[in-house]
Amino acid sequence: MNRRERLMNRLAVTMLILAIAAPAAFAAAPLPSWHELAGRRVLLVTGSDASVPSDDALVRAYLEARGVRVATTTDAAIAATQALPSADLVVISSTADPARLGRRFAAAKVPVFTWNTMDYPHLGLTGPRLHHDYDVVEPTQHFAESFAVLYGYGANVTSSISRAAGLKPQLFGTLYLEPATVGWGRPGPGGRVLVDFNGTPDEAGVFTYERGATLADGRVAPARRVAFYLSDANFHLLTAVHGPAARDPNLRDWYRGLALFDASIRWALAPPPPRPIWDPRALRRRFAAAARGKKLLFVERIDAGEGREADRLIVAHLRAVGFDVVVADQMDPESRAKGMDLVMISSTCSKYKLANKYADVPVPVVSLEGLMADSLHLAGRDRYVDYGEHGEEKESGDPPTRYVDIVASWNEMAAGLPPGPVAFTVHPSVLKWARPLPDAVVIATLPGSPDERAIFGYPAGSTMADGFVAPARRVLLPLDNPSFEDMTPQGKALFDAATLWAISGTRR
């Protein structure tokens, strides 16, 4: 075999590997087409007063034109009946009276798609406080603001909906250029914000909950939930572009309103991922299969005092799983990551000494140190606001804790653990947290602190803090210096599941 043939063989093998790995590059499953959804039954819940101007009929016509069967009912009919009509998707218009609906759909085991903002708290999509947890902006009371909400921001670009709608991390036109009435909500940590207003995810225009995600009221979503910024009579103003302008990619990216609605409905109708099962052995097998032969750079403070034993145990665990582990000191150059499949940063590292290393390496990074959230672009730069810790003396007002609160039990990173508090360590310990951007999937928060997210991951291509685009997956798993040997089986499963998730994606 001459040199040329060897090169060709290498190229062929590389192409084969890329072809196999490519589908895994997409963290989110593609959405079904309308053709695949034909015949699904949609229950459209509207108001009872037909004299109220609304676009409900247009919504119905839009859905029917795409092949789904739509039955319409009213809030009064819902209030008067015991059994809810069966459907594959419930769509709740803002024309329905939320007081009449009450909590009738809160436990619905079918997906719910709603633009009834005042009903968000009933569904558990947001907290109960008007103006704080949810609000309706409309021209009579908020004339100037009703123009501001014509501009939405693509807060999430990696979800199935975002990809299908072509959402980008930039402004876009939500509704056509008239003073608009829109609703926004502030979802709980189990929600995913896709579109926000006024530059803050706390004013989310579009947000979703996966089946099994923890809702804002602490309950668990029995099926998918979508909240959308529409109001009574502006479906027809959802932006779209036609004619010669549609050839301009910049204009196509701006007029995304209708595409976003379309993709959100299809996501709601699509089957959710299978529920992960708590099975540590099966997890270990999957982890071992994925880790076998992969190179892992473990970055630590070599001979660290307090965490030395913990680092040794972590490395031993990773080697036992099958990783080819290379240990680097915190002062080693970033070039040590070259040729690696994963970089794991130990919490023994000094943030000050590690500097900005490993932030932009094109391989997955797992950080066990939450205080590096800003230098790794996992969160903003305001210490103790964007990131912080529980339990560290003199640095935290919160006592040590041993629990994390699972909010995304549906995700494989949650290791099949049920929603709610899970013992992470045997003894109360220091636990770090950060507030990631909406592209991150939040797996667990600190107990009683839903805004302090302990475990989360960014898919490749995510928009991270400072406008940084994740070149590969990024994970925060707060494992303080001496904690590894103190982890519960659940904690170790979370460690394995998060690391497995990190290496399961490919580079961007």
Partner: protein, 364 residues
């Protein structure tokens, strides 16, 4: 009246000087504030403020088929019978006639007011006509008989559409040379051009608008029209970049031409209609899209702002319509009605915001 006015001014002056001036000013402010909303609803409640101001005999025998009014408001030109007749746009008095030998299907006047273009049905021709004096300057053949004609002065092009053929011919307006034959899926309806690169063509059979790139002379895209059946009439506001589409199914859509987006849907008379956009057709009206149906209906879309349009109302004209055009200088819609019964000449209807004609019959 004058004394009352003086008295009121004096009262106000006194009020300004007096210790109760604040109270007077407050009363005045409240009166103004309450008066303003009162004007709005009343104006809307009145409906279309355009009414038939006058009815006049055309005075030239034959069926009117095409009408155009010079931009300077001096002359109106009417295709009537086999002739082109000129009239004073001030009082509709005859100002000349030119025999053409065939009926004029459509008529366009150049911006300079010196030339006109007339499409003849049989034979299929376009005539370039000098207007002072009236005479035919050139005769150009068309591959198919035109049903409508549109002059795009910015591009120096004349577009001829045929109701029988799925294409539009683009002619050089100076020489008559055929520049392009633009193929469409179906025969085109009304055309309007924005003067900066786009020609919009109603495609009634497809429920959409075709957009022609007038520089490259080819189809540049299509605009879907949700909820619009058989779009036929078009009106364009090139400043606001709004296209008003009359749907024979009984609606008018307002389309943002920049992005092809329909953002307003308003009621209109069902049936065919052709349209035009006019500025300030009536006091308090910024603009309107007017659609005139052959059976004698006038529908208006009122412009309140570039992003706000409302149903401007409807008026039954009670006569069939042969041709219509707008005199922007006098804010007057000219409607040429064909002869009725045994009559050999038709009528002018002048529609505007002035007082209605006392006599609903003829007032020559």
């Amino acid at each position: 009246m004058k004394r009352e006015h003086i008295t009121l001014r004096r009262r106000i002056r006194v009020a300004r000087r007096s210790p109760t001036a604040g109270r007077w000013r407050a009363i005045l402010a409240i009166a103004i504030i309450t008066a303003v909303p009162a004007i709005g609803p009343r104006a809307r409640a009145d409906g279309l403020p355009l009414r038939i101001e006058r009815r006049l005999s055309i005075g030239v025998a034959g069926r009117p088929t095409a009408l155009a009014i010079a931009a300077d408001g001096g002359r109106a030109y009417l295709g009537v019978g086999d002739s082109l007749a000129a009239f004073s746009a001030r009082d509709a008095s005859p100002a000349g006639i030119l025999a053409l030998g065939a009926a004029v299907v459509d008529l366009q006047i150049a911006a300079d007011g010196r030339h006109a273009y007339a499409a003849l049905d049989a034979p299929a021709r376009v005539l370039r006509i000098g207007l002072a004096p009236l005479r035919v300057l050139a005769t150009w053949r068309l591959p198919a008989a035109a049903s409508s004609l549109l002059l795009d002065p910015d591009e120096g092009l004349l577009f001829a559409a045929s109701a029988a053929a799925p294409r539009i011919e683009a002619l050089d307006a100076a020489t008559g040379r055929l520049r392009a034959s633009i193929r469409l899926q179906d025969p085109p309806g009304q055309m309007v051009a924005n003067g900066y690169g786009s020609l919009f063509v109603a495609q009634a059979a497809q429920d959409r608008i075709d957009v022609i790139d007038t520089r490259r002379l080819r189809l540049a895209g299509t605009l879907p029209l949700a909820g619009c059946g058989r779009p036929d009439g078009l009106a364009l506001d090139p400043v606001g970049r709004r296209l008003f589409v009359h749907c024979a199914s009984g609606a008018v859509l307002v389309v943002d031409t920049d992005v092809g987006f329909t953002f307003e849907r308003l009621p209109a008379a069902a049936g065919a209609a052709h349209g035009l956009f006019v500025h300030t057709p009536a006091p308090g009206w910024k603009g309107a899209a007017l659609f005139v149906g052959p059976a004698g209906t006038l529908d208006a879309v009122r412009m309140l702002a570039f992003i706000r349009y409302v149903d401007g109302g409807r008026r039954e004209l009670h006569v069939p319509v042969g041709a219509f055009a707008y005199d922007a200088r006098r804010h007057r819609l000219w409607i040429a009605a064909p002869p009725q019964g045994a009559a050999t000449t038709g009528h002018w209807l002048w529609v505007g915001a002035g007082p209605a004609a006392d006599d609903p019959g003829e007032t020559p």
